[in-house]
Amino acid sequence: MRTIKVNYRPSVKLKRMIFISIIVALVFSIAFYIYSRTFAKSERLGIRMTSIAFNSIMERVVGTMIGMTVSAFIIAFVSLAFQTTTGSRILTPSMIGFDSIFIGTQTIIVFFFGTATEIFSNIYLNFVITAGAMLAVSMLMYGAILRNSKNNIVFLLLFGLILSGIIRSGSTYLQTIMDPSSFAQLQAATTVTINGMDTRLAKFLAPFMIALCLIFLSRHKTYDVLALGEDNAKNLGVNYLKESNFNLVMISLGMSISTALIGSLTFLGLLAVNITREIFKTNKHFLLFLASGLIATLALVFGQACAEMSQGSIPVTVIIDAIGCSYMFYLILKENKKL
């Protein structure tokens, strides 16, 4: 017997319910994360948790939390904006190899200036330089390819892959001829993880990143229109060239900052944005922005809590990728069945 499948479409009430449950889940994951960093750890080590110890841990936890939240929001926002303007649901800007540019910049700094130099040891200065390098390269790449060849995404992806390949092998070469102590320090600096996140930097950058998020949010109506494609957007009186240039700057900025802060989380943006699109089935970018930001934060915090519980034996990227991959497979198979 054939059953007619009714397409899933959430009512306003259901959307609100989902939204609230995401927030509730987020609160629980934050609690879980705090527990994993404090009581779970003390129990494992057999130490009684004192209020002094708890407070000092919490200070670090709050810093990490801020860093994770703003980074997750930035990654989700940037991915959504990128997908909307390129009209592709399978790409995120991080796939184009921001991490290799990050590693390349650090390697060049250490190789030519040594580890003692101010630009390597001063985290703020170092951050400005690496983020600046990522910004410059990505702007150049997006500007040259996306604008000239009319959203040729495949070409962009290819270009990005080749570029990151070159940079990666170039930095590997420099690293092999480097002296071992510099190499060790470089290694420590380039393996950016959430645990290794510099909370000072996170707190320093947080206001800036929040401002970036707010700019994205304030432009949600423009993104609604941009989603219709270039011609339709132009027809509706959007200054397409100006908007897309501005958008590219914002995307590069967001990606550079988040990569320098917590490293490359290739899957997070893709996962968060696609889940949001599937759940909410809407083109209203205000909702999409907020929900994808929350989902990204949820995934990151929950994943990080799991990583803490496993005593770091499972990195958070593995958890996110595992969940993300299986969900993406499910989506692809479901989409296929419909056709």
Binding site: G87, L228, K234, N235, L236, G237, R277
Partner: protein, 327 residues
């Protein structure tokens, strides 16, 4: 009125538009026709500000379009390129709401809502207004996009091959709607059409393009004649008049070209796969087939003797019928 003055557009080496000047008449349908690569879509893009002008001017009511804010132009000129099935989760109603974007920036007022309902009703989409556009058929989607453009409430409407991907029923329906836009809503429509017969039946003016230039323009009755069209399309046209409308036949001019030519009876028999007969029965079949050949030859001669132009479809059909019977 929209006027184009000395437009040159270049991509790479050649001129896509080479010194094109055009006045688009108000309150009428102007059809752009021409072969592939003649520059129709580029002209439409330039006139509707989708493409930036490289050299030359586009004037909207005697004001250069470049000096008008994009938002303001969007209140005057609406343009629809070919609609792809974008995998967007947008309902028809939401899509039509976008048409009000130039007027209200996304914050709908009572006037906007009224316009939206009006356009949805005009395009007869009210029953399916809450459907997602990726669930629609090609014709419905096309209508939804037209409704968006209607909600935009502009004087000028540019459409790039709106009949693409539409079957005959929807194509005719679409052209009727476009006629209604001009007659009832006093709009000025410019439309790129591939099928010359649609242009002939529904347009008021035709602009013919070839190699980036306008080679002819004028009212339909002056444009739809074989002299003009043969030149535009590099192809021979047969034009017949039917119920006051001119119809172009361009499926090959000589209907007898379609009929196979046999020089002798044996050749005919070979062609239809008749082997030389041995038995009595075979012989009688052969006899009747030889008769068929003469019948066939008779019709062929009749057709060939007639003038090209007076040779109507009927003859062709008749002779084909005979042909199949014989086989």
């Amino acid at each position: 009125m929209i006027q184009l003055k000395n437009i040159f557009q270049t991509y790479g080496k050649g001129h896509v538009l080479n010194d094109v000047s055009l006045d688009i008449p108000d309150n009428a349908i102007t059809a752009l026709i021409g072969a592939n690569g003649a520059g129709k879509s580029t002209l439409l893009g330039v006139a509707s500000r989708l493409l930036p002008v490289i050299s030359g001017d586009v004037l909207l009511d005697n004001v250069n379009i470049r000096s008008i804010k994009t938002r303001e132009v969007a209140k005057q000129i609406a343009v629809l390129k070919q609609t792809q099935s974008i995998g967007l989760k947008v309902t028809i109603a939401e899509l039509v709401e976008f048409g009000r974007f130039p007027h209200c920036g996304g914050r709908l007022k009572a006037v906007d809502k009224e316009k939206i309902d009006e356009s949805i009703n005009f395009m007869k989409l009210n029953d399916i207004r809450d459907k997602f556009i990726d669930e629609l058929s090609g014709g419905q989607r096309q209508r939804a996009f037209i409704a968006m453009i209607l909600a935009q409430d502009t004087k000028y409407v540019f459409l790039d091959e709106p009949l693409n991907n539409l079957d005959i029923k929807y194509s005719v329906e679409m052209m009727h709607i476009i006629r209604k836009l001009v007659k009832r809503l006093n709009k000025t429509v410019v439309i790129v059409l591939h099928d010359i017969n649609f242009a002939s039946a529904y347009a008021d003016y035709i602009v013919a393009m070839k190699d980036g230039k306008i080679i002819n323009q004028g009212a339909v009755k002056d444009m739809v004649c074989s002299d003009v069209l043969n030149n535009v399309f590099d192809h021979n046209f047969n034009i017949i008049e039917h119920m006051g409308k001119r119809v172009c036949l361009y499926y090959g001019n000589h209907s007898h070209d379609l009929i196979p030519n046999f020089n002798s009876e044996d050749e005919f028999l070979n062609q239809i796969g008749h082997n030389h007969s041995a038995t009595e029965l075979d012989k009688s079949i052969e006899k009747s087939r030889r008769r068929d050949f003469f019948k066939f030859q008779y019709f062929v001669d009749k057709i060939k003797s007639k003038d090209k132009k007076t040779c109507s479809n009927e003859n062709e059909i008749e002779s084909r019928k005979e042909g199949t019977k014989m086989n």
